[in-house]
Structure formats: C-alpha cells, structure tokens
Amino acid sequence: MDILTLFIIVPVLTIIALVFSKGLERTRVVSMIGSIIQLGMAINLVFAYFKERAVNDGIMVFTKDVVWFKNFNIHYNIGVDGISVALILLTAIVVLAGVFISWKTSELPKEFFISLIVLSVGVYGVFISIDLFTLFVFFEIAVIPMYLLIGIWGSGPREYSAMKLTIMLMAASAVLLVGILGIYFNSNADGGPLTFNILDIAQVNIPEAAQKLFFPLVFIGFAVISALFPFHTWSPDGHASAPTAVSMLHAGVLMKLGGYGVFRVAMYLLPLGAIHWSWFFIILAATGVVYGAFSAIRQTDLKYINAYASVSHLGLVLFALLTLNKIAWNGAIIQSLSHGLLTAMFFALIGMIYGRTHTRDITKLGGMMKILPFIGAIYVITGLAYLGLPGFSGFVAEMNIFVGAFQQNPDTFHRVLTVLVVSSIVVTSVYILRLVGKIMMGPLITNDVQDLPRATWYEKTGILLLMIPVIGIGVAPLWLSDMIMKSLEPFIQGVL
Amino acid sequence: MEKYIFYILSVIIIVFAVASVSSRKMLRSVIYLLFVLCGIAGIYFLIDYNFLAAIQLTVYAGGIIVLIIFSVLLVHHIEMELEMAKVSRKILTGLLCLLGLAVFLYTIYNNDFNVVENQVTTTTYDIGAKLLSYDAGGFILPFEVISLLLLASMIGAIVIAKGRKLNDKNNEAL
C-alpha cells in the first residue's frame, strides 16, 4: 500500500473500528490507537521523505496517479513535498493530542471521535492532493464535521456558532469552486488537455486576464478559513462554542488549510494574478494582523482572545505569503506549524481550566498558578511562546516572515505595512501578558476553589505532545527550514 | 358568403366565451360554453372537416358538457349566484390577457404563412386509415396510448369518486 494513501485508509479503518466498538472505554482506546498509528506514519513519512529526497528531485515525491473521472481528466493524484510533510506531521500530532484531551468526552463519544477523525481525513487529503478536484473534495470533507462537532458537543450558543461557521466556510468554498473551475478551463491555454493536475497547470501560461479574474476568488475561498479580515467573524464564535479538542483541531489544523491552499493553488497556479492583486490582499492581511491583536486585548472570554489571536497570527501567514518572497514563505509555513501547535496547546489548556472552574471569563479567574501549577506553568510558557519568544517555534516563524517581508519590495507601501505588522508583536505581548497576569498570576479570585484536580495523565500527554515540537522547532529550526526552503524553490519561480 | 358565416361564428364564439367566463349563474355559464363549442363545430364544417365537427359536437357537447352539468347539479342549486372576483383582480388579469394577446397577435401577424390553396376534402376514411396505420404517418401508437390514458383516468375518477368506506383508521379528515 502506498505510503500516502495510508493516511486516508488508516483513519477510515479507525472509523470503521469505532463504529463497531462498544462502550466508552473501548471507543477511547480505539481512537487513541488509530491516532497513534497516524502519528507513527507521519514520523515515518518524515524520515522516508528525507531518504526519498536524496534520490528523487521531483517537485513532489511518493506520487501516485490513478485516473478517476477520465472525461474531466480528474485523477486521484497524490504526492508530498517538504511542506506537506511538515503539515501532515502537525496534523497527526494535533489529532493525537486532541484525542487525549477529549478523553473524558461522555456524550455520544463514538460519534465524537468519528467526526474528529473524519475531519482529519479531510485535512490529510488536502495535504497529499496534487489534483485540484481531490483537493477540493477533501477540503470540504474537512469542513463539514465541524458542524456536528460544534453543534452537538459545543457549549454556549453552539447551534448559532456551528451554523455560522459552516455557512461562512461553505460560502467561501463556493467562491473557491468558481475559481477552481476557472483555473481548470484555462489549463489548456498552451494547447494541452484540460487538467486538474496542479503540477501540470503550473507549467501552463494561463492568460493574464483569467489569472486576474480568478486569483481573488481562489484567494478568498481559501483565506476565509484562515480567518482573513474581514471574513473572520465565524472564527471567534466558532471557537468559543466548540469543545476543546475541536477548537484545537480547528485552529491548529483546519485553519492551516487556508494558507496552504493560498500557497499551493492561488500563488502557484496564478502567479500573475498574485502579483496583480497582492497589494490589495496584503492590506487586508496586515489589517487582520493588527486588528486581530487589538481585538484580542479587549476580550474577556479566553477562547475569544485566542480566536482573535489566531486572526492575527494567521493574518501574518497570509501577509507572508503575499509578500511573494521565499524567506517569508518559509516563515509562513513555519508559522502555520507553530501556530497550529501553540494554539492547540492554548485551547487544550483553556479546556482544562474550563473543565475545572466552569468559566472562561477572565474576570472570574485569577491566581490559578497556585492551585494548578502544571497547567499554570504550561500556560505561561505557551503564552510566552505565542508572543514569539526565542527558543520557541513562534520566534523562528516570525523572524523569517519579517526578514522576508523586508527583503522583497523595498517601496514605502510595503515597508509601512511591514512595520505595521512587526509592531503587532507588541500588541500580542500586551494581550498575552494581560491574560497570563490576570488568570495565572495575581490573587486567587475566589477562595472556594482552593482545591482543584491536578492535571491528569492524558492531559499531560496531550500537552507534552504539542510542547516537544514547539521547543524542537524553536531551538533547532534548521532542518525544518531547509526542508521547507527546498520545497519552496519550484513554487517561488512563478512569482519572481 | 362563407366569409360572413365565419364572421358570425367568430362573434358567437367570442361573445359566448366572454359570457361564459363572466356569467353569475353557473348553469348559464355552461350553456354559453355549449354555444361556443357549437360555434367551433361550425368553423370545422366551414373548412370541410365534417368528421371533426361531429366529434366536437358529440364528445364535447354531448359528453363533456353533460358531465359538467351533472357536476353542477350535484354541487349547486340552480339559482345560486356565483361569487365574483374583485374588480382589481379582474382588471389586472384583463391587462395581462391583453398584453399576452398583443404579443401573440403581433407575432402572428408578423409571420408569413405559406398558405396552400386547396380544396381537399378529408373523408372519415382517411382519418380512420391514418389512425390505424403503423407505417410512417400512421397513428396507431397514439391511438393505443390514448386508450390507456382513458383507462387510467377512468380508474382514477372512479377510485376517487366512488366514495369512502367509513373506516376508523382513516378518519383523519381535516
């Protein structure tokens, strides 16, 4: 069996096993085993990738091409490069962590884990697809379980949030669909057959007019899921209502699909469009960075803070992509990984705090460090990592982005935007420290919570799973960045 | 001569048609319809389709009108006056119909018909032969199908009209 298709097969098998597993305990164990296998495969993939890369210098490796709908020239065409490998690893980690964190789910647990794994199938699928059609299929598969996950297991205005999220994301993918069709029908510009194959289309000179027309569609279609300002409002509500593991997966993995898609489809296939439109979208992205950060300052709900923080951080990813520069792109990918891990960690911690105190309102929390030392310490560390402290992944990502943004386009417009974006690091530290200072430090707000249950083994495992790569990337980024940089080579050609 | 007959028939058709859709008495309305149908039969006679005229008179005047009269009698007192639509509705509908008529007539009058001068007389035999022929230009298949159609409508009509067996289980009329 081919190494990438396994990423679809194994989760599907897990789902089937889940369907037939009875009882809460068994459900948990089955999903845990399934996710551990996925993680194992992901780690194996990293090593296999390096080995393969040494002998194979194609854009994608481990490719496999099966004709699906031959009349449309739709193929089941898969393959990975360094970027996908990194993101697949991220997904596997976050999924496993998510399974651990939601260990205690008791309402309809089977359905919960099934939905979770369906979601991960979609995400894996997007990352391994080379064919636009399959990519789109998996993209939608990844979105729709969110409705159930938030709607059934969520809290607060869950029905509203779930609906809002689904509708906005689906509206975006509707726009995307038009864009994809546009690309498809221009893929014969050089006389070849119509094709959905990304690598083939990239070789085609799509007419400039078409590129200009379809780039915004594809870009917005993907970027909405990355919470592009002003299409981000599904994100705070969605996150606030979602159960912990879902927030983790959503912010940690699903929102990465946006940046990935922008990069893989919009930028790669429509480079002229990208150059033409970048000034406009870069304003939106930069606005999002600052705007999200400032919004986060004002929020009082922990999850809202994080959601707006994600708007800000993913804005940074989009910003980096739009600077059309290799260093910044490298930063964007690393930022995707870093944000994925960190935000998942944050949501996990918030879930733990909420599970113990039953509130996410920061005005009702204080001095948690005293009673929850492990969670508190990790929270502080996560916060510091989030605001881009050296030694953690966020720093590496941000520095790449900033340096990259400074390298390209030395005109005043881009300079001003870059400085604006860079200054968001201060605002970030404001809200992070406000958060840490308020809920972890300071006096205990209520005295009747002297004794809360400490972190359990599954919570610790989940957290450590996420923490290790954060520090790993932060301390030794070179291998990762080399892997990504090399894979970026063919992609950057088009926009230079 | 034929010309004037045609005009007279046309006037009959149109006047009684209007009367039929505006009469406040149900039964009269049906009778006016009968006049319209007879007028149309007259036109068939005029253009020498006697068989068709006969069918018009028997099926329509003899069948359908009777059917309608039956139903009228079943559901109405003869004297009962019909409720009329609101004036605004009438005007609106009238305007719509005039607009439609204008479009139709404008289109028709702008079309060049390739009129073939002929005095061919169609006999009943011709029609019968066509109806039973299965060669090109024959109509045996529709003829069979319409029998099925009539059968189906008959069954449908009967099954609905035959009345209900009072059955508790089904007594959930609104």
Binding site: - | M26, Y49, L82, R89, L101, S153, I160
Partner: protein
C-alpha cells in the same frame, strides 16, 4: 379553406378565445367555472391545429388527428377533475376556489 378569410383572422379568433379562457381561469371563483375556462383554452388550441392543417399543410392530416386526440384527452381530464371536485364537495360542501387555500406559504 374559407373563401375570403385568411389564416390570420382565424388565428386571431383562437388567440382571443385562448385569452378569454385564461381570464376565466384566473378570475372565476368556482372550481367548475375554472374547468369551463380550461375547455375554452383547449378548444382554442384544437381550432389552431385544425386550421393550420387546413390552410398550410392540407395533404397531411397531422393537425386534425392531433385535434381528435386533444379532444379525447380533454374529456378524460374533465372527468378526472370533476371526480376530484365532487370528492372535495363531499368533504367540505363547497366547490369554491377560496376553500382550497389551506396550504400556503
């Protein structure tokens, strides 16, 4: 062929008849009256077929035969409609159009 009468005039009459039928269909307040209006509409079409056959394509009998079939179908349709109307009357003792409006929006 009617001497002195062109096809336009006949088509005018049928068009008028057609729209009178439509007018009746929309404005009448009684189901049976509506049925009557339908007969007008159908008759307009029937005359059209016959006249077109006669005036334009006299050597084939397609129009005439079509007309015969329409008349037959009209009869079937009317019968079915009447049966439904009667059934309705049995339930609500009314054949008014306004009593068939409980399902809406």
């Amino acid at each position: 062929m009617i001497a002195g009468i062109s096809i336009y005039e006949i088509l005018t009459v049928t068009s008028i008849l057609f729209f009178i039928g439509i007018y009746g269909f929309i404005t009448r307040k009684n189901l049976i009256s509506v049925l009557i209006s339908i007969e007008l509409i159908l008759n307009a079409s029937v005359v059209n077929f016959v006249v077109i056959n006669k005036y334009l394509y006299p050597d084939m009998l397609q129009g005439v035969i079509f007309a015969i079939f329409i008349i037959a179908v009209a009869a079937a349709e009317t019968a079915l409609a009447v049966s439904i109307i009667i059934n309705l009357y049995r339930q609500i003792s009314s054949v008014e159009v306004k009593d068939t409006e409980i399902m809406k929006y």
